[in-house]
């Protein structure tokens, strides 16, 4: 597609930047304009709930660099798109005409108290810096949400010597890690003094003025009171600006296996919902997914070659909490019963493999074992292929 001269990347995100880099890597030498709502240049988010929060890493270690040949418009949000005119409207009223558009506007933190400006969430670099400062003088910390983000925040707060309570509707992490790994994480959390409370009916945030001070169950019982109360209740894709008849939305913006959305429009990262197994479009808001989708989207956009990723390919994922480093590849949560390939589960230093089943891919996990992503993905793949061979 030699007539593609100007590509607009909406979202100064990891996915947006990786896509810009892949465009350059594929030989695209036209103009790339990247618009980002935040005032910062693109940065990486995983350290925000880990080292940046504890202070082990400085907050400016997260910037990604490598956007010398991209026109970056920071502090500028895309507020509308017209896929017929091929034009993006910005919040300053300007219009950007494009030959190709990359939708990489990501997601934002879901709020439990959207009417309260004082609700504390962690998604952006500014959020992380503010939260780190708020944690310093605090003694008690309460977190609504026991997903990866909530548990990583709990781990960071515990490492800073805080008394931490996590509240969720279900037992934390089970839905993502399965019972075996979730139990191990919760045991480690308990050893670090973290209290976990399950409130099946619901959780809301209670405020004193603008300050969140407690978590409350639906029947009004106080589940936790704290100096710092954080909401870590998942994310919401930034799709509001995409309301246009030509753009399919379902949770996120729907992409095909080549990350295409509409003619001359692709999407990657947390904002994109891909057709997965089971047929329903699903977002996979994780780092490694953003990176692989960005590459596919870039090649699709300039028609360099039929890109086509395998939407069922095992993904890589990692988390750090309570002295555990977990690396995972393949189906999440794992299904069936794991085998210990190496090390000892009791010592929390092991490589585990969950074989594939008729309906699910295999999973591989490395616990406090520095096994590389390619090896783990191979392990997860092998269990899947073994099954395919046998069947």
């Amino acid at each position: 597609m030699t007539q593609t001269r100007h590509i607009v990347v909406a979202g100064a995100s990891q996915a947006g930047l990786a896509c810009a880099a892949a465009l350059r890597g594929s030989g695209f030498d036209g103009a790339i304009t990247m618009v980002g709502e935040e005032v910062h240049p693109p940065y990486t988010r995983p350290p925000l709930s880990k080292g940046v929060l504890t202070g082990a890493e400085s907050h400016d270690s997260v910037f990604l660099g490598g956007q010398e040949d991209v026109d970056l418009l920071p502090g500028t949000a895309a507020v509308g798109v017209d896929v017929v005119q091929r034009c993006v409207t910005l919040d300053n009223g300007d219009r950007l005409y494009y030959d190709g558009l990359v939708i990489a506007t990501g997601a934002r933190a879901r709020r439990l108290a959207p009417d309260h400006p004082g609700e504390i969430t962690l998604r952006t670099l500014d959020d992380a810096v503010r939260l780190r400062e708020a944690l310093m003088p605090a003694r008690e910390v309460a977190i609504a949400g026991g997903g990866f983000l909530g548990m990583e925040i709990a781990s960071a707060a515990a490492a800073l010597g805080k008394s931490v309570t996590v509240v969720d509707l279900v037992a934390p992490l089970v839905d993502r890690l399965g019972p075996v790994l979730a139990d191990m994480c919760l045991a480690a959390a308990a050893e670090h003094g973290v209290k976990v409370r399950v409130s099946a009916g619901g959780v809301r945030v209670g405020f004193d003025g603008d300050t969140p001070t407690r978590l409350i169950s639906t029947d009004g019982a106080v589940l936790a009171e704290a100096d710092v109360v954080i909401t870590a209740a998942g994310d919401v894709p930034n799709t509001e600006w995409l309301r246009h008849p030509g753009l399919p939305l379902h949770g996120g913006v729907i992409v095909d296996s080549c990350c295409r959305v509409a003619p001359h429009v692709v999407a990657a990262g947390d904002v994109a919902a891909a057709q997965g197994r089971g047929g329903r479009p699903r977002r996979l808001p994780h780092w490694s997914n953003a990176m692989s989708q960005a590459k596919i989207a870039a090649t699709s956009l300039i028609g360099a070659q039929a890109a086509g990723g395998d939407p069922t390919a095992p993904q890589f994922f990692w988390t750090e909490m309570f002295g555990l480093t977990l690396r995972l590849a393949g189906q999440l949560p794992p299904v069936s019963v794991p085998t210990v390939l190496q090390g000892s589960f009791a010592d929390r230093r092991a490589v585990l493999v969950w074989p594939a089943t008729a309906t699910h891919l295999g999973t591989a996990a490395a616990i406090n074992t520095p096994l590389s992503a390619p090896k783990l993905i191979r392990l997860a793949n092998n269990t899947t292929q073994q099954l395919r061979t046998v069947r």
Partner: protein
């Protein structure tokens, strides 16, 4: 960008935790050893390796890679 500029891809072995994302990002430049240590084919980067090297730097979850530019005197 004179001919006296030397651009290198450097690994901080203290930071590296063997995630291996760099190999996925730039297989033409970086291969993992059996111990999952990144082995860089050409530390001194040619023009064609600049892009893949930047991709590898971005892909590292623990920021163990960096590109250093030095002027040779």
């Amino acid at each position: 960008m004179g001919e006296h500029e030397e651009v290198r891809l450097l690994v901080d072995r203290g930071r590296c935790e063997g995630y291996g994302m760099c190999e996925q990002a730039a297989p033409e430049l970086i291969q993992l050893s059996d111990d999952d240590e990144p082995v860089i084919a050409e530390e001194l980067l040619s023009a064609e390796h600049r892009g893949p090297a930047e991709g590898a730097v971005r892909a590292c979850p623990v920021a163990a890679l960096r590109i250093s530019t030095a002027n040779r005197s």
